[in-house]
C-alpha cells in the first residue's frame, strides 16, 4: 500500500489538472479577497462586513460553491485516468491486490481533495481573518447568510463540510471506478452535488413551511395588536385561523429525506433573531438533529461507496 501511495504522490506532483486547479483555487481566493476588502473599505454597510474570517470559512467550505465542486471532479478525473491510461493494469500485474489498489485510490482521492480544499479555504480564511477578523459576532452577508454565528455553529459546519467532502470524494472514486472513463464521471458528480442541494432546498420548504408560516403570522398579529391596527389584527388572525398545516405524512417523508441527504445541514442556514431595536441581528444555528443526522448519513454514504466500489472493482475484470 505504501508503494502505491508513494507512486500517487509522485503522480500528483506532476499532474497538470491538479496544478491548474490549485492555481485557479488560489487565484479565485486572492481575487475574491481583494474585491471584498475593497468593497468593505469603500462602502459603509452599518456594521455588516463582507470580508470576515468566519464568513470566508463557511462560504468557501460549502461543497456546492463553484470551487467546491471542482474537488470531487478533480478526484474523478484522477481515478478515471488510471483506468483510461491503463496504469491500473500495471499495478495489478505487479502483484498488488485489487482491494489495496482501490484503497490506495480512495486515500489518494482524499489527499488530493484535502490539498485542493485547504489551499482555497485556508487562503480565504486567513485573508478574511487578517483583514476582517474572526469575531463570530460580526454580521456578514457571506457564508452564514445575513448574520453572525456562534463558535458552536462554525465547529458543526466545519465538521459536516469535511464529512460531506469525504462523501463526495468517495462517490467520485466510486463513479470513476464504475465507468472507468472520464465521460460519464464528470456529469454524474455535477448531478449528485447540485441534485442533493436542490433536494435539500425542497425538503427544507416542506419541513420548514409550517413553522415559518405560523411564526410569520403570529409575529404580524403581535405587531398589529401592539399598534392597535384592527384591520391588520383581523387579517393576521384570519390567516392563522385558516392555515392548514402540511400533512403529517408529507412532514414525515420530508424528515426522512432530511436525514438521508448528506448535504442538508450545509444547504440550509437556519438562524435565530436576537436583540431588539437597532441591536437586532440574526445568528446562524444548526440544530443537533440536523448535525448528528448529517454525521450519520455522511459516514454511511462514505462507507457504502468505499466498500461498494472495492467489491465491484474486485469482482470485475480490468480492461
Amino acid at each position: 500500500m505504501s508503494r502505491l501511495l508513494k507512486a500517487f504522490f509522485y503522480r500528483m506532483s506532476k499532474d497538470l489538472a491538479f496544478r491548474i486547479t490549485l492555481i485557479i483555487g488560489c487565484g479565485i481566493a486572492l481575487i475574491l479577497s481583494v474585491i471584498l476588502l475593497v468593497a468593505d473599505l469603500m462602502m459603509d454597510m452599518e456594521g455588516i462586513k463582507l470580508l470576515t474570517g468566519h464568513g470566508m470559512l463557511t462560504m468557501s467550505l460549502n461543497p456546492a460553491q463553484n470551487y467546491g465542486i471542482a474537488i470531487p471532479i478533480n478526484v474523478a478525473i484522477f481515478v478515471a485516468l488510471e483506468f483510461t491510461q491503463g496504469t491500473i493494469r500495471n499495478k495489478i500485474i505487479a502483484g498488488h491486490s485489487k482491494f489495496k489498489i482501490y484503497a490506495s485510490l480512495y486515500i489518494s482521492g482524499l489527499i488530493l481533495g484535502a490539498a485542493l480544499l485547504f489551499a482555497y479555504v485556508g487562503f480565504l480564511t486567513i485573508f478574511g481573518t487578517i483583514f476582517g477578523g474572526f469575531d463570530v459576532n460580526v454580521v456578514t452577508i457571506l457564508g452564514t447568510g445575513f448574520g453572525a454565528a456562534t463558535v458552536e455553529y462554525i465547529v458543526k459546519f466545519v465538521i459536516l463540510s469535511l464529512l460531506a467532502y469525504t462523501t463526495l470524494i468517495s462517490y467520485a472514486v466510486f463513479i470513476a471506478t464504475v465507468f472507468r472513463s472520464l465521460g460519464p464521471s464528470i456529469p454524474l458528480v455535477f448531478a449528485a452535488v447540485y441534485g442533493l442541494f436542490f433536494i435539500a432546498m425542497i425538503v427544507n420548504i416542506i419541513v420548514g413551511i409550517n413553522k415559518e408560516f405560523m411564526d410569520g403570522y403570529e409575529a404580524a398579529l403581535v405587531i398589529a395588536q401592539e399598534h392597535g391596527d384592527a384591520d391588520a389584527i383581523a387579517e393576521a388572525a384570519k390567516e392563522v385561523a385558516d392555515f392548514k398545516p402540511t400533512n403529517d405524512t408529507v412532514q414525515a417523508i420530508g424528515n426522512v429525506f432530511k436525514c438521508l441527504n448528506p448535504l442538508y445541514g450545509l444547504s440550509v442556514t437556519d438562524s435565530v433573531i436576537v436583540g431588539e431595536g437597532e441591536d437586532v441581528k440574526a445568528i446562524a444555528k444548526m440544530d443537533d438533529f440536523t448535525f448528528y443526522s448529517g454525521i450519520a448519513s455522511n459516514l454511511a454514504y462514505s462507507a457504502a461507496f468505499f466498500f461498494g466500489g472495492a467489491c465491484l472493482f474486485k469482482k470485475r475484470d480490468v480492461k
Partner: protein
C-alpha cells in the same frame, strides 16, 4: 518444470465461452510462442494469467501456486507484461514513466540504470519529450523498457512487435533471446509475424476459437513440418498425369503453375518424369513447411 499450467481454464463473456477448457503447460526458461488467429483467445488467456481477468471456471498455477492462493500476489512481483496496449502516462516523459513504475513496484533504479534501460530500447535521445508525442513504435519500446524494470522471471508479451520497424523487430528478437538465454527469463509471446516467432520460440501453443489445438516444442515441430518439393511448370494437366504415373498422390496445385509435392520422392525422378511427358520446368526447389503452414493445416484438420 512448468512455470505455468492451466487446468480446464474457461472464460465466458455474456454467456459466450471464449476460453474453452484450456490446458496449457509453459516450461520454465522457455520462449513460448502463442499462435492463433484474431479473436482466438490469446489475449484473454494472457489477461487471465496476469490477474487482469478472473476465470469463469478452471484454475491455473503460477510459480507452483494456484490462482486462488493469497501468496500468488507476492509471486506476481516476478512478472511483467504488455497485454493489448502499453500502459503509460502520456503527460510524463519516458524517464518519469519509469520512475512512476519503480515507485509502485518498489524498485529503485539509479539514474545510470534508467539511462541504460532507455538505451537498451533506443530511447536514450528523448530526454524531455512527453510520451503523448511518441510514435507507436516508441511507445512500444518504452513499454518493453518498463517490462524490464523489475528484472522479471516471467514476461507476457502480446503482439510486442506491433508498430516496430524491421530493425526494431530484430532488436527485440535479439533482446528476448538474450534475456532468455542469459537470465533464464520465461517468455510467453504472441505475434502475427510467425516468421519472427519461428526464430526465437522454443515451444509453441496453437490456439483456435478458445481451444488449445496443440502444444509442441520447436524441435518436435521441426520434425513434424512436412518437407516438400516445389516444381513450376507450363502444362499443369500433363504434369499432374505424369506425377500420378510416378505414384505421387500427395501434392497441391496452385493456379500459377506451381505444384507442391509432399510425397518423399527424388528430385531427379520427378524431373525425368515431367520432361518425358513434354512438360517444361521453369523452377524446382525443395522447401520445408513453415509454422504458418503447420498452423493452417492444424486448423483445417480441426474443422
Amino acid at each position: 518444470m512448468d512455470l505455468i499450467t492451466t487446468n480446464e481454464l474457461c472464460k465466458s463473456y455474456n454467456k459466450k465461452l471464449v476460453i474453452d477448457h484450456v490446458n496449457m503447460h509453459i516450461p520454465e526458461s522457455s520462449i513460448y510462442g502463442f499462435v492463433g488467429e484474431n479473436g482466438s483467445g490469446k489475449t484473454t488467456i494472457m489477461r487471465l494469467l496476469t490477474g487482469l481477468a478472473e476465470p469463469t471456471s478452471g484454475t491455473y498455477e503460477l510459480f507452483g501456486l494456484k490462482n486462488n492462493d493469497p501468496r500468488i500476489y507476492e509471486k506476481r512481483k516476478n512478472i511483467s507484461a504488455i497485454v493489448e496496449k502499453t500502459s503509460l502516462v502520456p503527460t510524463f516523459t519516458a524517464k518519469q514513466n519509469i520512475r512512476y513504475f519503480e515507485l509502485y513496484t518498489g524498485i529503485e533504479l539509479t539514474e545510470k540504470e534508467r539511462d541504460e534501460l532507455l538505451a537498451k530500447v533506443h530511447l536514450h535521445d528523448v530526454e524531455n519529450k512527453k510520451v503523448k508525442n511518441f510514435s507507436l513504435g516508441m511507445r512500444q519500446r518504452l513499454g518493453i523498457a518498463l517490462a524490464l524494470v523489475s528484472k522479471p522471471k516471467l514476461m507476457f508479451l502480446d503482439e510486442p512487435m506491433n508498430g516496430l520497424d524491421p530493425e526494431g523487430i530484430a532488436e527485440l528478437r535479439d533482446l528476448l533471446v538474450e534475456l532468455n538465454q542469459k537470465d533464464g527469463i520465461t517468455v510467453l509471446i504472441s505475434s502475427h509475424i510467425l516468421s519472427e516467432l519461428e526464430k526465437i520460440a522454443t515451444c509453441y501453443g496453437f490456439i483456435s476459437h478458445g481451444k488449445i489445438l496443440e502444444e509442441v516444442t520447436a524441435q518436435e515441430l521441426k520434425g513434424r513440418c512436412r518437407k516438400s518439393l516445389m516444381v513450376k511448370v507450363d502444362k499443369l494437366q500433363e504434369a499432374e498425369k505424369a506425377l500420378k504415373q510416378l505414384n505421387i498422390l500427395d501434392y497441391k496445385v496452385s493456379p500459377n503453375g506451381e505444384i507442391q509435392i509432399y510425397d518423399n520422392v527424388k528430385i531427379q525422378d520427378v524431373m525425368a518424369c515431367l520432361v518425358s511427358a513434354g512438360v517444361n520446368i521453369s523452377a524446382i526447389n525443395s522447401a520445408e513447411e513453415s509454422v504458418e503452414d503447420y498452423y493452417l493445416n492444424l486448423i483445417k484438420e480441426g474443422k
